[in-house]
Symmetry: C2
């Protein structure tokens, strides 16, 4: 990947899919040239703890500590505290692992001391020996609400407590307009040579990042590639397919590409979606099709490699 | 113990010794007639958590969940969160167990929601199925500082982080004068038929309770018995002997009795201290001497029984 030796890459990421592609990119790119800007629209508080699920997933994945199967939390974590919370009648719908709790305790404590989420994340990354720069999209609050047939639900409430069961009719972003992208994230985007929209949920993971003032324009100025989170119309993890259908849209890579039309130069879809290539090209973007599953660690580097090779043709 | 069936007993307690006698009393007395007022001078914050070490020791002991050897924390608890806090560079000198953390998280959260420490303690007690009333001495902050050759140290700082090693020259009680006894503790003392000063450290566990405005007078109005925490001049747990010596005083049950002179009617010392009985009687109090070690659960009931029998002779 010598051709990337001096180019700055920014990845926009939500949880699992974004974290896995970021891990692959981190294997290939010099750490000082890779920045991952992470969705914080899912952030919330429970038991007084400030939780940043996507930041944690990205940090834990880049540190090689993520649970390989679950898509959240730390590998081999225990849940003794949570069991005791249950005995004490506290909330247990969000599965706080014992080791995971250390992250939340420190984050909450440092935020209370007046540090920004960007500073706190940098400190956690340093301690976890994560070398690429991991940035929250904002130090301000922009919270994703899912509008459902049960009323508006805060994202984690919808996602974890209600297991994505309510029918989705739309989204609202609390704090929109007021919340600004962090100075660090703005600088990273302004100096990027390539932006990669990771295979995260475009509606609730990438969308909040792009809705921060100026971010859409910043991304549009740079060569950018999006990787479809849908394979054969299904998401590897998460409720994207269900959401799209409930919104009356098609659950397909073409739909995702359409969502990003006018923003990106290149689109990657999985080899199973190769029949859609011509249609996606009709959206005035270049298209690549190859295996994009990243369950195994080795696959993550392979996908990252092919994404970078494809991106090189767009510069 | 039929004679106690309608009498209200209030026990003043610090940590281990107080908790153990309270447990014995709870075996003998109807739960609605026993109130334990607990020192909160050792309370402190770490990682944003509000910790009440003596309240936890009393609650865990009464719930039958206390670690039998350590004198703090829950039996069989794990320390996975703390190990992760260490990796993240956070403070680890206070040994937060994983299950124990649930108590701190819930307490902190409920206090932030505006509940009083008394209300929070009642809720924790209810969940832990602790039947006697357990009350913090105050809902306000009265913090014990230990004056040492290393300067003033907050109590837990002295006790846990510095392992009681610095030389003690005195104590200060931050918030003294402003901090009031809780209404519930005041009511319990005002309606008590007997007050028992548990075998807790008189200088740093019982003292803060008595220094709250009006408490000394409230206790003095009621028949009261103190149980010596020193056996043969040594404390079963904690730094009392060392403190007394460093303050130029004698480490003996006689010294403890002298400390309570004018306040209590009866004093219990261990059988090993029987030679001191006449001297303690010279302090104008009645004295009983019997085995007071409460390491085993069975001993706690025996000691409580003999304390109550002795107290009956004082009414």
């Amino acid at each position: 990947m010598n051709s990337w030796a001096n180019r700055r890459v920014v990845a926009l990421a939500g949880g699992v899919g974004g974290a896995r592609l970021a891990e692959g990119l981190a294997q290939l790119l010099p750490a000082d040239l890779l920045t991952v800007i992470v969705n914080t629209g899912d952030d919330f508080e429970i038991l007084g703890l400030s939780i940043s699920p996507d930041l944690d997933t990205v940090l834990y994945t880049l540190a090689g500590l993520a649970d390989p199967a679950r898509g959240w939390g730390l590998r081999g974590d225990t849940f003794h505290c949570l069991e005791a919370v249950q005995v004490l009648g506290g909330p247990t719908w969000f599965r706080l692992g014992d080791r995971d709790l250390a992250t939340h305790l420190l984050r909450t404590h440092l935020l209370w001391e007046g540090r920004t989420l960007t500073e706190v994340t940098a400190e956690l990354a340093r301690r976890l020996q994560v070398l690429p720069k991991v940035l929250p999209m904002s130090d301000d609050v922009l919270r994703t609400w899912v509008l459902t047939d049960e009323g508006p639900l805060a994202f984690q409430d919808y996602f974890v407590r209600r297991r994505c069961e309510p029918r989705v009719s739309g989204f609202q972003f609390e704090g929109e307009g007021a919340a600004q992208p962090s100075p660090e994230a703005t600088r990273a985007l302004d100096s990027a040579d390539l932006v990669i929209l990771c295979p995260s949920n475009p509606l609730v993971s990438i969308n909040p990042i792009l809705r921060l003032p100026g971010n859409r324009e910043r991304v549009a100025r740079v060569p950018s590639v999006a990787v479809s989170p849908l394979l054969g119309g299904e998401a590897v993890k998460g409720p994207l397919s269900k959401m799209l259908r409930e919104l009356g849209r098609t659950s397909s890579a073409l739909e995702v590409a359409g969502h990003y039309q006018g923003l990106i130069r290149g689109f990657v879809l999985d080899e199973v979606d190769r029949p859609l290539v011509t249609q996606v090209e009709g959206l005035r973007m270049r298209v690549a099709s190859f295996p994009t599953l990243m369950t195994e660690v080795g696959q993550r580097t392979q996908v990252a490699q092919r994404v970078l090779e494809f991106a090189e043709t767009l510069l």
